[in-house]
């Protein structure tokens, strides 16, 4: 069911919120053992929330925008009294002491928080294979990865276990798994959604995003969770549009940028689909314009240096004193720290090492400072491009979902999975991945729209129209 169908069914009385929640709980019970998208289901809480919605309706009270809609949250988003582990042994026993702003907003809109979803450990990964809670299987083909790091959220939506889920996106962690699983994934521009109560990975890039079955559903959730938050000083003071009302009749007058050279050397099927998407947009009235973002190809190395440096700082708090596992057998402070930080998995340790090395006095200028400066130039490139066009069209990923374990021996190729998506985090842009066709193995292909910061309405509208051509 879509979110619109759920809302309509509850409003007109053909279904109760409890019935809707029980339906999704049954879907999870049936499908999760094969897919492993959920690491915990909040069955009792979810049913209590659903019953509260039904009681509100029975008393004639006004219902919230998401009344009775089950929503899953990624395991790095805090919900008071519930575990939030980042799928890491480091936080295996951590229970949230307060609720994140995004969850507060969902609850205020009468949504039902149904459970927490699997993810790459501390959101570091593009395949959901680094999770301490086990690999997530792509519902389209169980032998393949769902993408990451919000792989659990994407797989849960794709398998029909939940109509929408929250993820976080630091280098493509909402959009890339959305592309791999054949669902819609939106990453807002930097500052559009509060990160209060979201466990930090890389603070200059992290954003909360939405995964849903279609663009209109994603827009509905986006509208609920967006906006300035006094608890997050990086959230922006700007009015939030009614995202579900931004869809125009057609795309006349909309300028779509096609970045020069972006499709060179790309997998032929994905290239063909991206070109077909451009053609469809043109048929809907959009004007196609070639734009030049020459330095965007350097986004991935910048991304891995900057985010790893920030991670080395952010994850310094897991020392057994402030947060995380504490090893009580240590004899002195040095061994206490080392033993308490031992639960980090291989990928997380690697990122911390990359970041720490890039921040050493010997490497600071050539690595960290250089990456920061190139980031400024990339931002400038995108700014120039957006002076000519409304949105930019790119593939979401250079490949479709690969087989579990297939890329383990070459992590650099795994890092390239973020090639098209990390540009959005380096530039602070708004981005959306929308399913557009399948490859020769029947695997979903995603295409992506970028828009300027605070202009999510433009990418939602473009994606909405492209989505309509596939129905």
């Amino acid at each position: 069911m879509t979110i619109f169908e759920i809302i309509a069914a509850i409003e007109n009385g053909t279904k109760t919120a409890e019935e809707i929640t029980r339906y999704y709980l049954a879907q999870i019970a049936q499908k999760n053992p094969q897919i492993n998208a959920f690491v915990e289901v909040f069955e009792q809480d979810a049913l209590a929330q659903a019953k509260a919605v039904d009681a509100k309706k029975a008393h004639g009270e006004k219902l919230g925008v998401l009344a009775g809609v089950p929503v899953a949250i990624k395991d790095n988003i805090l919900y008071k009294g519930h575990k939030a582990t980042c799928c890491s042994k480091m936080l295996a026993n951590y229970t949230a002491a307060y609720t994140s702003t995004v969850v507060e907003k969902l609850l205020a809109a009468d949504a039902v928080i149904i459970g927490r979803t699997n993810m790459d450990e501390f959101a570091m990964g593009s395949s959901n294979q680094t999770s301490a809670c086990g690999i997530v299987h792509n519902p389209v083909d169980l032998e393949r990865v769902p993408g990451g790091s919000s792989g659990g959220s994407a797989a849960a939506v794709a398998a029909g276990m939940v109509p929408a889920a929250l993820g976080t996106d630091t280098g493509g962690s909402v959009r890339q798994p959305a592309g791999f699983c054949g669902v819609v994934g939106v990453k807002p521009g930097y500052g559009r959604i509060s990160r209060y109560g979201v466990i930090a990975f890389a603070s200059s890039a992290d954003q909360v995003g939405v995964l849903a079955g279609n663009v209109a559903d994603a827009a509905t959730v986006m509208e609920v969770i967006s906006g300035k938050d006094a608890h997050d000083s990086t959230s922006l003071e700007a009015p939030v549009p009614h995202y579900t009302q931004v869809f125009t009749q057609d795309l006349k007058g909309v300028k779509v940028g096609l970045p020069k050279g972006f499709l060179d050397g790309l997998n032929p099927t994905i290239k063909k689909q991206t070109e077909l998407a451009a053609q469809k947009l043109q048929e809907l009235g959009a004007e196609l314009i070639e734009v030049d973002v020459p330095l965007a190809k350097y986004s991935a190395p910048c991304y891995y240096i900057i985010t790893s440096a920030e991670a080395s700082s952010n994850l310094g708090r897991y020392d057994g004193i402030r947060y995380g596992y504490a090893d009580k057998t240590a004899k002195d402070l040095k061994s206490y720290y080392e033993a308490s930080r031992a639960p980090f998995g291989l990928e997380v340790k690697k990122r911390i090492i990359i970041g720490t090395y890039a921040l050493t006095s010997e490497r600071y200028e050539e690595c960290f400072l250089k990456a920061m400066k190139v980031r400024e130039l990339i931002k400038e490139d995108f700014k120039k491009a957006f002076s000519q066009v409304d949105v930019i069209l790119t593939p979401t990923s250079p490949t479709t979902a690969f087989k579990i374990g297939e890329q383990d021996k070459n992590p650099l190729s795994l890092y390239l999975a973020d090639l098209y998506t990390c540009q959005g985090n380096i530039g602070g842009l708004a981005g959306i991945s929308v399913p557009f066709g399948k490859d020769e193995n029947g695997l979903p292909i995603g295409v992506q729209f970028y828009g300027p910061i605070l202009e999510e309405d433009k990418i939602l509208n473009a994606a909405y129209h492209l989505e309509k051509t596939t129905k």
Partner: protein, 92 residues
Amino acid sequence: MITKQDVELAGKLARMTVSTEEADIYEGQLKALFGWVKELSAINTEDVKLTNATLAAHMRKDQAVTDEQAAANLRAMFGEELNDQAKVKKVL
């Protein structure tokens, strides 16, 4: 070029134990990554200034806590007090 010793040193700075086996794995992977990062040196960044957000944009006014219970709840979380100071857990 990053070496195994660099990996071990970075691990030490980050207060983590890096086993010989891990250092071997990381060394190869990080050589490839930093080779990729080296491509950035071809870009002229001489005149680039880093943009820093103005402090004012990230400031928020102090807000008085009017809920006395909130302060009491916070203090209660610590348990024991001594000379008007909260006692915290001993680490070692």
